[in-house]
Symmetry: C2
Subunit: 110 residues, 2 copies
DNA sequence: GCGGTTGCTACAATTTCCGTAGCAACATCG
DNA sequence: CGATGTTGCTACGGAAATTGTAGCAACCGC
């Protein structure tokens, strides 16, 4: 069991509970960025996420629980897992990465 | 030894070599986001990074090697590790996270 | 020479993650 | 009613990643 990311709990590698450290801790955990990314176009089921990402259900579930505790993702029984309002805000901050990654890849292969 | 993030090498959990997947893979590895963040205000020495982050030198070195292979970080023997031009671009995409994380933390504690 | 800093490595112990199998709850269809 | 399918999720043994500690070789100033 991994420590939850919540106010008062210091992030791994940081004695302070500064929000940016908590956020970097959460987003730096394996598959978390991918999970948020996979939900960018709407809700997905547990197994859909599992298939799309290719990770074990154990860790998918653990990461989803962390994202739910962080109020970035929620489970709607009718449609599946989806981003909350907060999660959608976060996703929008990440969208520029898509275009930038193309530029970056060209520089790498050059 | 972890697979390097380079064109042609598919990212973990993705059969395609799409740049965004490579990038999310790289950034999702433990301590990578923290490392980029710690270099935001200028170069730092290996041991400075180690102290600031609190991770083992083994993994600090491995992640720095990956970031160097990705041309996001470089080592200047006179001043230490620093962001490349590409790395600085990436950092700028992440800077809005700082302000947003404060808002997020308030929502969590509410 | 001597002490300090540099980046970095070795290696055993611990933690995390994977891969597979499967469960309980619920819905749907006959 | 039973049978079948889908849902989210868990157990558990093996594999992989990470930690913590110690220390090395190269370099610089004195």
């Amino acid at each position: 069991m991994v420590k939850p990311v919540l106010p008062g709990h210091p992030a791994r590698g940081s004695k302070s509970g500064r929000p940016i450290m908590l956020l970097l801790d959460l987003l730096g955990r394996r598959w978390v960025l991918r999970l948020v990314w996979e939900l960018r176009e709407g809700p997905k089921r547990f197994r859909e996420l599992q298939m799309a990402i290719g990770a074990s259900p154990t860790i998918i579930n653990e990461r989803l629980a962390e994202l739910r505790a962080a109020k970035l993702v929620e489970l709607d029984t009718a449609s599946g897992y989806r981003l909350t309002a907060l999660g959608t805000e976060l996703l929008h901050l990440f969208l520029p990465l898509h275009a930038w990654s193309e530029k970056w890849a060209k520089r790498l292969s050059a």
